[in-house]
Amino acid sequence: MRGFWPLFKRELFAFFVTPLAWVLVCVFLLVQGLHFFVLVEQLSAQVVAGGDMSPVSAFFGNTVLLYLILFLLVPAMTMRLFAEERRSGTAEGLLTAPVSTAAVVLAKYLSVLVVYVIMWAPTSLYLVILRRTGALDLHVALASYLGVLLVGAAYLSLGLLMSAMTKSQFLSLVLTAMVILVLFLLGVGELVARPGTTIHAVCTHVSVWAAMSDFSSGIVDSRRLVFYGTLTVVPLYFTVRVVDAWRWG
């Protein structure tokens, strides 16, 4: 893992000295803030709240906004990671330094994951607000954040791979968005396909909807952990291979 630490620091530095990260964080918090506001408005207007509709599960689970925001943000966060280094040629300086490819990939990945976590961090304030006004199941909240982390980790890993495969940031953005969209549409298949068929089973397994509604109800299913763990590790492995393959230019 030679070279991991300086690269990790530089990646974080690069994120926060360029306007891109701030724009992304602002958009993200704006959308999430509105989302929360609307949610609280709705729930407080209802005289009798639905039994299984806690604010937390509504915020993380039964909403299209979470996926929309991931669909918009993740490709923009990962697009420059490798594509920019190759286009501008800095990859040459990077890969002629005595650093291992795995360290380069991991440093880039973890830095973007940290940015993702930083983006979500302010939303924990909503939990504080909810807690002041009513009961809050901490387990459910933690499970929800675990879900957000797992889904994000997998998408970011896929985005990193797409960025390593092309010299164009734009192409990287489009490819990542397409992969996320396909995964999302497979999830929709759960609602469309006839229950009991193989397609339905596959779709349910892949569905980010189903996953998030589980997590936001406090259910941590080991199958989900394995699925998103795999979806994180496999693209990272292939990213290392792709970066190594640049040398055959």
Binding site: R10, S88, V99, R247
Partner: protein, 337 residues
């Protein structure tokens, strides 16, 4: 320090380097010469560990760049041709990052960064964001980057490209300052660069070695050869002497040139490469002939080819040998299919 053996690099169907071998000894400053597209950058990238060779081996300080890439890269300070830098960083931040990346110990880092800032004359821009630097300064940041971990070997790809004459002189001074302590391989297509900085040159064309040696050796490679003599005497005497010379030397394909110069007579004799005699023999015969006719011989010396002429001659598209032409056509066909 560098041993390149039978290096071949293929990009798809195109052969960029075709069986190149050369070596650089410890402490040498070697110029890597060739016209654009000769495969200079590709070769240097393989030496620096950025590209993998298609076949052949490259050893740096005895370490195979493929077998133990990290150890090899540790010993090389590489400055890429385009000097890619992160535009959002300040110069001092960038150099500190590069030093850390190259494994310079924390305790030595600020000392090393300070040192290269001075060496590359970057002190006044140390806190400027790289994106707003001029080309000349960026080039110097690249040089400072190559030097920052104090590697024993420096590989510089066109270090003075795009600089103004003053900046070129400054960069050459920095390189000259490395003489003796570092081994340097620098590529260029500018000949005066080699004459100014290098003790030896490796010349390639179309991915192949065409010549290698000290500058004097390369100068002698010029195939057309000749003599130049300065004589204190009448030009009639000189003509008489030349008549003797004509009878005892191979036929001169070029007519001797006799001209007056600063009160003396200058004689230039030259031969085409095919009929060229051994210059030392020719020199003796001509000197004797001139002295025999009673003219005062002031000076006689072989005509040395200027490096430009040698370079032009060596790298001019050679008439391809039949089998080579065939191989090339085949490679092209492969590319099309």
């Amino acid at each position: 320090m560098i041993v390149v053996q039978d290096l071949v690099k293929r990009y798809g169907a195109r052969l960029a380097v075709r069986g190149l071998s050369f070596s650089v000894e410890k402490g040498e400053i070697v110029g890597f010469l060739g016209p654009n597209g000769a495969g200079k950058s590709t070769t240097l990238r393989v030496v620096a560990g950025y590209l993998a060779p298609t076949s052949g081996t490259v050893k740096v300080a005895g370490i195979d760049v493929e077998a133990d890439s990290l150890a090899a890269r540790e010993r090389v300070g590489y400055m890429p041709e385009t000097v890619p830098l992160y535009p959002e960083m300040r110069v001092v931040e960038y150099l500190d990052f590069r030093a850390e990346l190259k494994g310079v110990a924390r305790s030595k880092r600020s000392g090393r960064v300070d040192d290269v800032l001075h060496k590359a004359r970057l002190v006044e821009v140390a806190n400027v964001v790289i994106g707003s630097l001029s080309k000349g300064y960026r080039q110097r940041v690249g040089l400072a980057d190559a030097l920052v971990a104090d590697p024993p070997l420096l590989v510089l790809d066109e270090p003075t490209a795009g600089l103004d004459p003053n900046q070129i002189r400054e960069v050459r001074e920095v390189i000259a300052g490395l003489r003796g302590t570092h081994t340097v391989l620098l590529s260029t297509h500018i000949l005066s660069e080699v004459e100014a900085s290098c003790g030896r040159a490796v010349v390639i064309a179309k991915g192949k070695l065409v010549a290698e040696g000290t500058l004097e050796e390369l100068g002698e490679l010029r195939r057309a050869s000749g003599l130049r003599a300065l004589v204190d005497g009448a030009s009639a005497d000189v003509e008489r002497a030349l008549a003797t010379v004509r009878s005892s030397l191979p036929k001169m394909t070029n007519e001797p040139v006799i001209s007056a110069k600063e009160g003396l007579v200058e004689v230039v004799l030259s031969w085409d490469d095919a009929s060229s005699p051994r210059l030392r023999d020719a020199q003796k015969i001509v000197a004797k002939a001139l002295v025999d006719v009673g003219s005062g011989l002031v000076e006689i010396a072989p005509l040395r080819g200027r490096l430009e002429d040698v370079f032009a001659e060596l790298t001019r598209a050679p008439k391809a040998l039949p089998d080579e032409a065939e191989a090339e056509a085949e490679a092209e066909r492969e590319g099309e299919s």
